[in-house]
Amino acid sequence: MSNRLPTGGRVDRSAPLRFTFDGVEYTGLRGDTLASALLANGVLTVGPSLYRERPRGIVTAGVDDPHALVQLERPHSEPMQLATTVELCDGLAAISLQGRGRLDEAPDEARYDKSYLHSDVLVVGGGPAGLAAALTAGRSGARVVLVDDQPELGGALLGGGREAIDGRPALTWVAEVRAELDAQPETRVLTRATAIGYHDQNYVLVAERRPDLPGGGGRLWHFRARQVVLATGAHERPLVFAGNDRPGVMSAAAVRSYLNRHAVLPGRRAVVFTTGDSAYATALELAAAGAAVPALVDTRPEPPAALVEAAGAAGIEVLTGSVVVGTEGEARLTGVRISALADDGSELTGPVRELACDLLAVCGGWSPAVHLWSMSRGTVRYDEQLAAFVPDSAAQAVRAVGSGRGRHDLAGCLSEGLTAGAEAATAAGFPVTAPVVPSCSGDEQPAPPRPVWLVPGEEGDPSTWRDHFVDAQRDATVADVHRAIRAGMRSVEHIKRYTTIGTAHDQGKSCGVAAIGVIAQLLGARSPGDVGTTTYRGPYVPVSFALLAGRERGPLFDPVRTTPVHPWHVRRGAVFENVGQWQRPHYYPRPGEDMDTAVWRECRAAREGVAMMDASTLGKIDVVGPDAGVFLDRLYTNGFAKLPVGSARYGVMCRADGMVFDDGVTVRLAPEHYYLTTTTGNAAAVLDWMEEWLQTEWPELRVRCTSVTEQWTTVAVVGPRSREVLAALAPGLDVSNEAFPFMTVRHTELANGVPARICRISFSGELAYEINVASWYGLAVWEAVLAYGAHAGITPYGTETMHVLRAEKGYPIVGQDTDGTVTPQDLGMAWIVARHKDFVGKRSFDRPDTSRADRKHLVGLLPVDRSELLPEGAQLVAPGADLAAVPVDPLGHVTSSYRSAALGRTFALALVRGGRDRIGDTVLAPLADGRTITATITEPVLFDPKGTRRDG
């Protein structure tokens, strides 16, 4: 059965498109939506309702359809699309959905990206009001962007036919405006682009669909506009009556749009049910297209005489002061029941009359699409005359025009658009005056509607009206609203949550205001305005996560930072570890080695021979100025002002609460120049911290901080034989312990001519050096160290070995052995906390809490079974603790745990309550797998506690 009319419509009859729906093959036309193509093929019914499995049909022709969810399978798999917004293409395949869709497991080939665009004037909506606004604004020379969600401009005019501007069809005017906009060099028109969010400072997000891309996809536009014009149009409201969800009950405006835009006649025998003027056009055009229209049911006792006369002339009986009270049919509507309604709307007054029909076109009034306005924090008010919530006061530089603010006639829309476009451009600095409004016909200002929020049932009371659907997507009915109110709820927000009205895929676009009307009615409120709206939230239409992710997925998901030596690490077969955004060698396995074996070998090389590591990721900050020493004294717990030039010192930084924030070695290069290092992960945070204190608390200090992290490549050379490697590498440097003592810095030229800054510092307890060179020489110097160390068997090591070596010495890692609740004293580092100077965090050490004896202390742990490895994070309890107690009395937890080559056994670091007073005690680590590991508490320094290896 074809419902396609022989002529008319904005469809290309030369281009038939094949598609399937629920496995059945059909043919449509270019210009169709999936919904219009289905209707053309006589398919009205879509997936059944989510909870009650009632048959449901296509209702609207746009983003507000409550039923027509489909799963697209071809050309691209997309879940939960609305048939009313899917553009038909050849080969399209879709299946109906009952509520939820499913994500395809195959990789998504679509290309999504984003783009930022600034404009003087952004116009949202390409109907007559928006076009008029863009036209005037564009003529000013301002940068203008017009976005519209349809494939072509025109808005409601696309679904009309009788409208004329300047005596010609309105769509001719639309085409001329489009041509003029395209010719304006600074105007940009985006179609298939839906504004989904409106944020502060006129920041508007627009989702553009791009079906032209080979794999499909889209773009998320980030617009920033000086001025915004919202010409978003209005949504036609449904009416709440018994059986209003039956397939064949459609929006009157949608019926008209399918007729005119797609040349589709959705039914052969139609009844129209309206509260206002607009549906008369639907009735007249249905009749003109050949449908039987036995009746037009108007809630108003006295509709405008001209309309009644026109209907009569077309053979349509107008039933005034009446309502549709019920529907007949199973899978599809077969008839309606009509009755007169009392003046106060409270009861049915006439006998019920039955009329056979296969289509009921309903207009329950018009709700301006105030979603974006509301998201911009503009207020809305209820207009009793229009029976609608309309934009009230603006919170940003934004104007609402046209039916988006309740102005429904064509001339009014053009007038408001032309004026708002001129005002917006002028306000943005491009003065322009609005042109004269052209003469319009075919769409006059409507007479006031008579809203009916709740059509009484023929029997029962609201508590039993379970077929009066308020939100059909949620199968929520008048009975549900009644139950919510009986349960004590009054606020629309509470009732929404109780009934789930407005929470399905269209987020209340179709049913929201209708629901407010029902609530007002059942609460006995004077008007819906006394109930108010729920909060409008973005996105205005559902968008995919793929669109939000854009290109930032897969290899572009997040920056991968690498050091200049990285290519060598890759060639050497390093296994990498992510440290923040950095990718660092974790260890360098030789063929056949697992991680434990490789780390064991690397540790032995560092303790017994010589080893090297890429330490370039350390944060590095140049601190320069006459007050640099004073500044560092105030930030570090220990002193730096008196540090001799050429010397280095380890320091700990605390937050104001006295908790450890960062640590690192700082070198004094010149009287007014310090070179400070931070932990890899904290580099940016430490610089921010320093700037915060300098800029907000101590602006008088003459100090400048500059990040130099990537100016320098740092190669650590570690182990008893490191001195002989350095001696060969830096022939001009006296490397003897006397000439180059621990914690000093030297500048020299390496054998290959590269200038280097060499610090004698150690993070392993071994004799060690850190060689800093300009990073573009980093790879060459790394390879030189390797070459000069070859005879000594120099071994590259990764972060795991670094961790083992430092843990054997009890050196904590900030962020691993600390967690923001640990003081230097807790770490056993009271020695680094100066008594006779002030520094950030010092006052917190006078708090009773920071001097408790039973704070958690950093201690070592030796499992009784020397091969048993404690899991990091394992909780510790005292022997005999009642593990059945809730909560179990905890002693602390393991922070670091390794196998040690130097100790020939496993060991761990832990934070243990009163740990320093428990040295020698036994603790238990009950594990999730049922085992319990027993360990002995020790001092944290387990290897070379006397520090005999430092000087080689």
Binding site: D113, K114, S115, Y116, L117, H118, R143, H222, R224, R551, E552, P555, L556, D558, P559, V560, R561, T562, T563, P564, P567, W582, D622, V624, G625, P626, R702, R704, T706, S707, V708, T709, E710, Q711, W712, N752, G753, V754, A774, S775, W776, Y777, G778, L779, A780, V781
Partner: protein, 210 residues
């Protein structure tokens, strides 16, 4: 800046040139392959080893005047603006912070000169030449490519030659410096982020250069 001091610097660079590796040195072919000529074209290349000296000092003190004299141009005092003197570009980074950018090898000479005129004035001068590399994006579609990941208004009415900005492109901090109206942009990017930024730009360019 005298020609002599620049020449002396370049000799020092030449001696070690074979040991230098720029962050994107291995990517030159891919950058070239991703570039395209034509009215919608866009080109991407690395300009390695530019001299970059971070200068911080009181913008209205006597040292600022001496620096201006030595450079031959006032330090730009307008937000996010650039002054050009000979081969050097001076970028405004903050009310008391500038970046002096020059050709490869000029950093030591410029640093020496500026250190002399700074004298005892409190300020700082830090050589950051190896800290960042430079990506040059140019061609008719260059702005559209940047707009995929840069939230600044880059329209010629808002941004053009003589403007610079510290901003982000995609997820990467850059110093953006427009050098001509074609447009041509320099993106000064920290070495460790250069590869990601280049990959991101090549991906964004793939739309303009099908």
């Amino acid at each position: 800046m005298t020609a002599d001091s620049l020449a002396a610097d370049n000799r020092a660079v030449d001696r070690l040139a074979h040991l230098r590796r720029s962050p994107l040195g291995g990517l030159a072919d891919r950058l070239a392959a991703g570039s395209a000529p034509g009215p919608r074209g866009v080109r991407l290349r690395e300009i390695p080893y530019l001299a970059q000296l971070n200068l911080r000092l009181d913008p209205i003190g006597p040292a600022a005047r001496r620096v201006a004299e030595a450079l031959g141009t006032p330090l730009p005092d307008r937000t996010a603006s650039v002054t050009v003197t000979g081969a050097l570009r001076v970028l405004w980074l903050g009310p008391d912070e500038w970046l002096v950018v020059g050709p490869d090898g000029t950093a030591p000479g410029v640093e020496q000169t500026l250190r002399q005129v700074l004298g005892d004035e409190p300020g700082s001068l830090v050589d950051l030449s190896a800290n960042r590399t430079t990506l040059e994006l140019s061609g008719p579609s260059a702005r559209a490519v940047l707009e995929h990941g840069c939230s600044l208004d880059l329209h010629p009415r808002a941004f053009g030659p003589g403007h610079c900005a510290q901003t982000t492109v995609s997820k990467v901090q850059v110093i953006l410096d427009q050098t001509d109206a074609e447009p041509t942009y320099r993106l000064l990017v920290r070495a460790s982020f250069a590869r990601y930024l280049a990959d991101w730009l090549l991906d964004a360019m793939s739309e303009s250069t099908p």
